[in-house]
Symmetry: C2
Subunit: 225 residues, 2 copies
């Protein structure tokens, strides 16, 4: 019987490629997204399209209101999304986000009797985010096996982060080979209501450079340029 996996899908390019990789490895994929008070709901529509196009057997959107905590430009509308890269940990860092997302994914996996979790985290382009580093991934996998009934009973959980050491161009090349339609994905921190990208935020710049470096035509629609 094919193995099941829970795959975190954000609507972005990275998680779409991760889902395609999980499918290529033969996993039956349950896609999970979060409505966490992010400014742009178009992300969730993108996640829905991506999950469906790439053959997830189901897609759940869990409402997770962490906006009340404040502290991040992605959820706190009083903070401005910067257009230039700053040193250190960026203001778009959301406190403990991957820890929270993975904890929920783990709970769902346990109910589904799935033992594989996939996350599109990346330690190359997001080196400033503590919860995108290899050390974090290993520590979470260890926790997962101590936290759960199945883990304790010897059915080991595995956390897959297949993009961890790839740069954006390599991710785009890999996704392209697996037939990911990047036109369905959205990476922008400031999209318009139609899901068109700004072309100016960190995330847009990184994405555009990735397509250029990979030599793959960029299907992104922009509202700004």
């Amino acid at each position: 019987m094919a193995k099941q996996a829970v795959v975190l899908v954000s609507g972005g390019l990275d998680s779409a490629t991760t889902l395609a990789m999980a499918r290529e490895q033969g996993f039956i994929c349950h896609a999970l997204s979060f409505d966490y008070g992010q400014r742009h709901r178009v992300e969730l529509e993108a996640a829905r399209r991506v999950a469906s196009a790439l053959g997830a057997v189901e897609h759940r959107v869990m409402v997770l209101d962490i906006g009340w905590m404040g502290g991040s430009a992605l959820t706190d509308t009083r903070l401005e999304v910067p257009t230039v890269q700053s040193a250190g940990i960026p203001i778009t860092y959301v406190p403990a986000r991957n820890t929270i997302f993975l904890a929920v994914a783990l709970g769902w996996a346990e109910v589904l009797k799935a033992h594989d979790l996939f996350i599109g985290a990346n330690a190359v382009d997001y080196s400033g985010y503590p919860d995108c580093r290899p050390e974090f991934m290993s520590a979470f996998e260890r926790l997962a096996n101590l936290a759960t009934r199945d883990g304790v009973q010897g059915k080991e959980f595995r956390l897959h982060a297949p993009l961890l050491h790839l740069n954006k161009a390599e991710i785009i090349t890999a996704g392209s080979r697996l037939g990911v339609d990047f036109g369905q994905t959205i990476s922008c921190y400031n999209p318009d209501p139609d899901g068109r990208a700004c072309g100016q935020c960190d995330s847009c710049r990184l994405r555009a450079r990735g397509f250029a470096a990979a030599g793959v035509p960029d299907p992104t629609r922009y509202w700004h340029k």
Copy 2:
């Protein structure tokens, strides 16, 4: 300046005692509860009373709908809450619950610039729950310090589980000494809408035996007996 802590408060006797202990240690306490689709909302009213009576500076209730996952008698109304103790991990185990709750507590702590988390987990009476064991607590603390901006920058997070090795009678004795009004707390898995306990579920039995063993008058109101 006094240090701040995030304290998980469920409305039960254990977390009330934990909050009293955190206050005794001089922490400014931010209480956090979850509305996670539990059958009995009277728990959350108890949490509110407890947080206020024991001097938390604020109390947040985060809506966390994990009921759609199914898999636990505490959130899945199709499963019956058992009245007799079964061997192994109980059906009232909620998948990855403490992992999810602590992940959210960690995110809030980071925003508050707090570095101490308190949880009323107990490995004596709840030995069947994997996420109530000392190994789990250490693994989470380790994760917390890898997952967060402050952790990475050397401001260490500490996870306190002061009840971990106490039995129910010892917890009641400690809480009593610190002035916890146990009449405000609720432990029952099947309370009536007024918050009166059934007296028959595992949790009620454990609690009643604890008061008897501690020699402390039991203030619990029952609807059954």
